[in-house]
């Protein structure tokens, strides 16, 4: 199988590490060769963060370069646009509609381009926008945005719902399994 590429992008502190951990665990269980490249430490707190997940028969590079991503899962609106250049032709962006102002916007040095997803759509990019924050709150924890988005990603994967559920149970701390399963289901079905 040709190597498949999933990028998880967002704002440092939004929980992208758990999302990549879940995806890595799931794909390993499915028997793929997997590489996951992450950003660690608090150094990226509040900054733009990116995680690369690659899987297939044999994966070499740990990073996904321009024009290579099958999916970009973005935890924040403009982060989707920031990394759109990494998307493969025909690739899909799954994006949380939440907007978090970066510091240059807060200080007034730049403007938040709120319509940027429309521009991507106009260029033929497949964009699946979802209010993951509301769904996460509905699931019982605003921090489960990451798993809501994984639920939406799962819709496009050829891996059964039950296998995802197993991987969630194996990945998240026991006390958070219920809320995350609910978050996953909401992302998958809504």
């Amino acid at each position: 199988m040709e190597t498949k590429n999933v990028m998880i992008v967002g704002v440092g502190g939004q929980g992208s590490l758990l999302a990549s951990k879940l995806l890595g665990a799931l794909l390993t269980r499915e028997g793929f060769d997997v590489k996951v490249s992450e950003v660690h430490g608090m150094s990226q707190r509040g900054g733009s963060v990116v995680t690369y997940v690659r899987y297939g028969d044999k994966v070499y590079s740990p990073v996904i370069a321009a024009g290579e991503a099958d999916f970009i899962v973005s935890f924040e609106k403009i982060e989707a646009a920031r990394y759109a250049q990494n998307l493969k032709e025909g690739g899909r962006i799954i994006v949380n509609s939440q907007m978090i102002d970066p510091m240059p916007v807060i200080t007034g040095a730049a403007e938040y381009p709120a319509d940027i997803l429309e521009e991507l759509k106009a260029k033929g990019v497949l964009v699946d926008e979802i209010d993951a924050l509301s769904l996460a709150q509905q699931a019982g924890n605003a921090k489960s945005v990451n798993i809501v988005l994984m639920g939406r990603l799962a819709k496009y994967f050829d891996i059964s719902f039950d296998k995802w559920v197993e991987a969630i149970k194996a990945t998240v701390k026991p006390q958070f399994v219920d809320v995350n399963l609910k978050a996953f289901e909401l992302g998958y079905t809504v």
Binding site: H40, G46, A66, G67, D101, A110, P113, L133, A142
Partner: protein, 578 residues
Amino acid sequence: MKKLMLGNEAVARGLYEAGVSVVSSYPGTPSTEITEFAAKYDEIYCEWAPNEKVAAEVAFGASLRGARSACAMKHVGLNVAADPLFTLSYTGVNGGMVLFVADDPAMHSSQNEQDSRHYAIAAKVPMLEPSDSAEAKDFVKAAFALSEEYDTPVIVRMCTRIAHSQGAVELCAREERALPAYEKNPQKYIMAPANAVRRHPFVEERTKKLALLAETSPLNRVEMGGTEKGIICAGTCYQYVKEVFGDSVSVLKLGMVHPLPTDLIKDFASRVQQLYVIEELDGVIEQHLCSIGVPCVGKAMFPPVGEYNQTTIRAAFSLPQPPSVTTDTPVPVRPPVMCAGCPHRGLFYTLAKHKITCLGDIGCYTLGSAPPLTALDSTLCMGASVSGLHGFNKAGGSESAGKTVCVIGDSTFMHSGMTGLVNIAYNDSHSTVIILDNSITGMTGHQQNPTTGKNIKGDPAKAVDLEALCHAIGIDRVRVVDPYDLKACEAAILEELAADEPSVIISRRPCMLLKYVKPQPPVKVNEDKCVGCKMCMKLGCPAISMKQGKAHVDFTQCVGCAVCTQLCRVGAFQREEK
């Protein structure tokens, strides 16, 4: 059994399997997780040392006693540990000793892009470089075997993309090692001139033997494919080369990056039409090829700065790139920022308000240099704020000392700020040093340090009493402020700057990301009261923004530190009380 592991976790697994019993390190991105994961194995004694020099010397002591030992550090940490390293090369080891150094091409979390391979050459010790998690674990075991067989410390070079990428690793059992009886060997371990002059020729001979080993070691391997292009590479570059070219080129993959083989390279060169060297940062391998008279193309095609990836290699060889889209609308940058509720913010706001010159240091608080606070004037290396402040004030005189401070975190102060403070007291400058004590090593992801009262496992430990330490050093004026209290910060800073003697202000409040720090209810803005004056925006708090001319607080980020409530002149900011 196979497990998906970070490169750093795989190194820790290698330490476990190699029967290592002592690991001492100072945290530093991207090396930190090596020691954190090693600490999860009860069979390995692990600790956070105050700095990399101490850590390397602890590892030396353990090796001298006959145990296998290790320490891990980031590239600039090796500068600090360079002193023991160069002479350890002469003493050699008793139990195997391996240093792990993690380079950070592209400077994801670093102040420079130095290439650690130069240290292996300069200190005359072998260096291995893995290219994925599986190799990371295997190379740890190979490094210890080399260390003991050749009587040398060994360096394993990691880089961000290997350290922080997960890949499959096969788990094996631990090799248990009995601690031998200690035997005194002064000729080998006392590096006074009379002994050192006998050890230096040994080091030169050892390097020759290791270079011979490099010719045949399975650490270096040739993968013949198409012979039009031959590529010599190591570490993460190997992965990019295979990604782009597959088997259409021939590859000499080096696992041992010092010393480098000669005949192996010449033989490889003779089997391909055009030889390339692809290596991030400096042209170390290329220089070796030059010195042995093998023509190649390297830095003429590839930059000495930043990270490479598939795109870099395709571009260099003029290969087609996959099509991609970009937006015409610019996307504003999103630099990392101090968190909402960060205790450093109140102090930086006060420094910025009074336009105080501030020498900074290495830690989360380096982020205080960004707008709107722009509170810092310099950041050089660990501890340089304190010693630099002294020099700044000696040059600038009393006028300078009255409006200049430095800031340094608790962990950085323990690492190498203390000695600078000794210099301030001893050499009598009226400097004002601010210790930002957030009770943790923050930037690297929350590691304990000698001031926190806990060890690496989170168990109780002796805590350095910062106030008593500063007094003992000779600073009479030592005071503690709560950085959430803007008035107290202002009073402390202005009074200590005015004092005709050195002083220390300890700005003390735990990092709000610590589990035991409970967030307060978020602040709410009364829009009827808000006049849109933007005073609150001067804090640079990521939770506060302007929406339709009124201040707005993002409840998902606000932790109720209430510093903004002290700034608002019309009382529009109120914390919801429980």
